[in-house]
């Protein structure tokens, strides 16, 4: 990818100075008055790219005004271009009084804008920089001869995926829709959920070459202004040639730069973003990707699923416990197994010890190497499963089952117990509702295995202490990552390890939304209770 940009950069820089007399790059220049000059500049700058369509027309009374319509084929809506721009300018206008006014006079621009253009979005453009941005974003540019100014007419439309079902965060109960690649569709999906005037959106363009549209959404009055300000600052600081996915933004703005733990949350579900906004979080929508970022992101948030709030509270609490437990398994199970079987034999019940010893008879590798072989094999299978063409999938899973399975045991390479430990670890890592946290467990698991093989439980304990210290030291946009566990907040425990019923959750997370804390009426009012009859 870097190669691609470099090439484009080279192309842009050396070609322009020879054509233009000034030292300034072409983008910074102001439009010229001569239409032909402008069109030539555009052609030269774009290297006569074949998807740029330049149409020269004559408008006005007996064609007194020369005009140029420029658009990018494939990004602009051809029918509406013909119906509302070309047809209007070339045909419709002739039957009206306006036509007589279409002469090369200074008021021509305003006349056209006010009377002739039957489109919604229209803006004046004077800089080549703006012109190119608009043109390459799919807008139609209208230039008139004799004016150092032009119109950019909003007419974007390109082939794209519609709103489809979420594939990364599936739920049983809850909305199915997921974000798509178009930023407008995405913001619209959020607006449809929160119809409050306080839902504010700020737009900016990041990426010197990609000029990617980024929208920052938050609810004014709920979101913490300091965090919003901090985010603006961090976004302004970004100086990069390209943003292709929200992951690029995430890496550039996150707090903990060297950490396996994610400090920015991403989701492709509009309802998750909406609930995050309601809690006072801020959403960053990046054009071209269905993954929307929300922040600040806390540790416990990665164990919450949107479905948690649609299912019954009791059930959710149970599932939450299961998720934390699974995370612990995914992180520690192989390490604990290695520690117990190579250092702390006295910890294993006698019958189990004899059983495990029987399985290990004839296994040539130490437990650590055994576990490492299995874990790495599994990682290879998982990675291969993600990247390979779908059609080979079933063949792959058969081979995979052989490699991590009874065949390996029968071959005498691996003990059966290790297969079980590695399998349960693998399954447990998929319980996590977010992919990012599963990643973390995957990476750290190997470190813990190494510690267990070198120092036994002592190593695991030291590792855990280091892990907890690290977790407590990182922050996400000023909010302690482990909040509300450390620093402890009793009120916010309502949605940490357990989830209380909705009528008990009447405040927003305290450290995230520092203003407008109450999300509903006090509990005695909110609790749904049948009215007592006075008898």
């Amino acid at each position: 990818m870097g190669f691609f940009y470099e090439k484009k950069n080279d192309q842009l820089k050396p070609t322009t100075p020879s054509k233009s007399q000034t030292k300034e790059p072409i983008e910074k220049q102001i439009l010229k008055t001569n239409l032909q000059d402008n069109l030539k500049t555009i052609k030269d700058t774009l290297g006569e790219s074949t998807d740029i369509v330049i149409r020269e027309i004559l408008i006005g009374n007996k064609g007194t005004v020369k005009a140029g319509i420029i658009y990018t084929d494939g990004l602009s809506d051809a029918p509406s271009l013909q119906n509302f721009i070309m047809e209007t300018l070339m045909l419709d206008i002739k039957d009206t009084e306006v036509e007589s006014e279409i002469t090369p006079n200074p008021e021509l621009m305003n006349t056209l804008k006010d009377f002739a253009m039957t489109v919604g979005e229209i803006k004046n453009v004077t800089l080549f920089e703006d012109l190119f941005t608009a043109l390459l974003s799919g807008d139609v540019v209208l230039l008139l001869d004799g004016f150092s100014e032009g119109f950019m007419i909003g007419n974007k439309r390109w082939a794209e995926r519609g709103v489809t079902e979420s594939t990364t965060q599936t739920v049983i109960r809850g909305p199915r829709e997921a974000f798509s690649e178009n930023i407008r569709i995405n913001t619209a999906l959020i607006r449809r959920k929160i119809k409050d005037p306080n839902l504010w959106m700020e737009s900016r363009m990041i990426g010197k070459l990609t000029k990617t549209n980024i929208a920052v959404m938050y609810i004014k009055g709920i979101a913490n202004d300091d965090i919003v300000e901090e985010l603006r600052m961090r976004l302004d600081r970004i100086d990069i040639d390209g943003i292709l996915e929200s992951g690029n933004i995430e890496e550039l703005i996150q707090d903990a730069r060297i950490s396996t733990f994610p400090t920015v949350y991403n989701t492709e579900r509009p309802d998750v973003v909406a609930s995050a906004l309601l809690e006072g979080r801020i959403a960053i929508i990046v054009d071209g990707t269905p993954f929307v970022l929300t922040l600040p992101a806390l540790f416990v948030q990665f164990f919450q699923s949107s479905e948690d709030y649609y299912q019954r509270a009791e059930f959710t609490s149970l599932v939450r416990f299961l998720r934390f437990f699974s995370f612990a398994i995914a992180l520690l199970a192989p390490a604990l197994f290695i520690a117990a079987t190579t250092f702390h034999h006295e910890m294993i019940p006698t019958a189990l010890l004899i059983n495990l010893a029987a399985q290990r008879e004839g296994v040539p590798f130490p437990a650590f190497i055994e576990a490492l072989i299995m874990e790495i094999t599994f990682e290879i299978l998982r990675e291969a499963g993600l990247r390979m063409p779908r059609a080979i999938g079933s063949a792959m899973s058969i081979v995979g089952a052989f490699v991590i399975g009874t065949a390996a045991v029968e071959a005498g390479l691996i003990s059966a117990a290790m297969v079980i430990v590695v399998s349960i670890t693998a399954i447990a890592s998929f319980v996590s509702p977010t992919y990012d946290m599963a990643f973390t467990a995957r990476i750290l698991r190997f470190i813990f295995m190494g510690l267990a093989a070198s120092f036994g439980l002592f190593g695991i304990t030291v590792g855990l202490i280091a892990l907890i210290l690290h977790l407590c030291s990182i922050r996400s946009f000023g909010v302690p990552y482990m909040y509300p566990i450390a620093p402890f907040n009793l009120t916010d425990q309502k949605d940490t390890f357990v989830r209380l019923p909705k009528w008990k959750m009447f405040t927003r997370p305290r450290l995230i939304s520092q203003q407008n804390i109450n999300s509903q009426q006090p509990p005695d009012v909110a609790k749904p209770e049948p009215e007592k009859k006075n008898e």
Binding site: T341, H345, A357, A358, S454, F455, G456
Partner: protein, 395 residues
């Protein structure tokens, strides 16, 4: 500086050589250890599990355990010497049984037990038993039915019989050491012996018949004075002993009916309290026993639908318990002069100051110690039938 610490950390992981790491297939998992003494040497026998034979998939051809033996001047020496014949180092972390040969028990168990209490690899919750009129080596050399690992059979049998019959006493190593160290209580261990034919027990063929040729079973309690075996209790004395030290969980007692025949009491709850006292410099002990039981079986004509008969049975049982306890105490006082009941401890607890002057001649005091026994029996239930099923015919 930072880099230095980092390198140190990496080295500490790479170069430690995984201190103390032992894979499971490098361990000789020892479940039972036997100590015998002949002449001046200890003979240590370790019953080691053969994992391949115990596993569910393979094995079942050879013996599930093997006996590793070595002789040495001290126990530790002998255990280390076992590596001469065993490819794996003895791992006693899962020891379940320690069998002391009668010869060792008579000479004194304090010295050989020192290693076992000192070494960190030994756990502290395995049972210690004495081979009655036998060597530990022989006991550990017998195959057992039901539990294919003999050490497990010994462990579980002792646990079950202690809970349900109460003539045995499962003494773990830590309890034994407390008793050996205590000034006011002597140690007691359960005896173990081989029954049936005495030969061929180590072969699996001995298990091929329904009634095994040779079997291991527990017998009555061995009395120690200081750390030396001085004699054996009878079954009734053993039960009385367990009653006095409040170790009865459940048992069955056969008592005589008011007129003729027998009745059985199933003891559900047995509580005894020892209370020491010193009067005018003379120690004395009160034993207060409370028993709750059911009528387990009636083998005599008695109408238990009447409350009076229940009361009569309670009275009889109370008397019998009192007599058994009394006889046992007298017998121990006369025969062994060893305070296995912990009367000394009871007196120390109630009168620590007087104990200081008594403890030097405690054995003397113990033989003359007056003991008051109070028994209270409550019979609660009579089972699913009322009177004996043979009763109508007897009338």
């Amino acid at each position: 500086m930072k880099r230095g610490i980092f390198i140190l950390l990496i080295l500490s992981i790479i170069l430690t050589g995984c201190w103390n790491r032992r894979e499971l297939n490098e361990l000789a998992i020892t479940l039972a250890l036997g100590i015998d003494k002949s002449e001046d040497e200890y003979l240590i026998s370790a019953q080691v599990v053969v994992p391949g034979e115990v596993s569910l998939t393979g094995g079942k051809v050879g013996s599930p355990v093997t006996l590793v033996q070595a002789r040495g001047g001290t126990v530790y020496e002998a255990i280390r010497k076992m590596t001469k014949s065993s490819p794996r180092k003895i791992y006693p972390g899962h020891l379940r049984m320690l069998v002391l040969g009668e010869s060792v028990a008579e000479e004194g168990i304090g010295d050989p037990l020192d290693l076992i209490s000192r070494d960190w690899e030994f756990r502290s919750d395995f049972y210690v038993v004495v081979a009655k009129e036998d060597t530990a080596e022989h006991i550990l050399n017998i195959q057992t039915p039901l539990e294919n690992i003999p050490a497990n059979k010994m462990f579980n049998t002792l646990k079950v019989s202690e809970e349900n019959w109460s003539a045995t006493s499962g003494v773990t190593i830590d309890e034994l050491i407390v008793d050996l160290r205590s000034e006011g209580k002597e140690a007691v261990l359960t005896g173990i012996l081989a029954t049936g034919k005495q030969e061929g027990g180590s072969s699996k063929q001995s298990l091929e018949t329904i009634l095994s040729n040779i079997n291991i079973q527990y017998d009555d309690l061995a009395v120690f004075k200081d750390d030396k075996l001085v004699g054996w209790l009878t079954e009734n004395e053993s039960r009385a002993y367990n009653g006095i030290i409040n170790e009865v969980k459940s048992t069955v007692a056969a008592i005589s009916c008011p007129n003729e025949g027998k009745a059985n009491i199933e003891v559900l709850d047995f509580k005894s309290k020892l209370k020491g006292n010193v009067k005018n410099g003379n120690p004395e002990v009160d034993i207060n026993v409370k028993i709750v039981g059911n009528i387990g079986a009636i083998e005599c004509p008695i109408d238990i639908s009447k409350p009076e008969s229940i009361e009569a049975l309670e009275k009889i049982y109370e008397k019998e318990v009192e007599e058994t306890i009394n006889n046992s105490i007298t017998s121990v006082q006369e025969k062994y002069e060893a305070d296995i009941f912990g009367f000394g401890d009871a007196i120390y607890r109630s009168n620590p100051k007087e104990w200081e002057s008594l403890k030097n001649q405690w054995n003397q005091h113990f033989t003359e110690l007056p003991v008051t026994i109070k028994v209270d029996v409550k019979l609660r239930k009579t089972g699913t039938v009322n009177n004996s099923i043979t009763e109508p015919r007897k009338e």
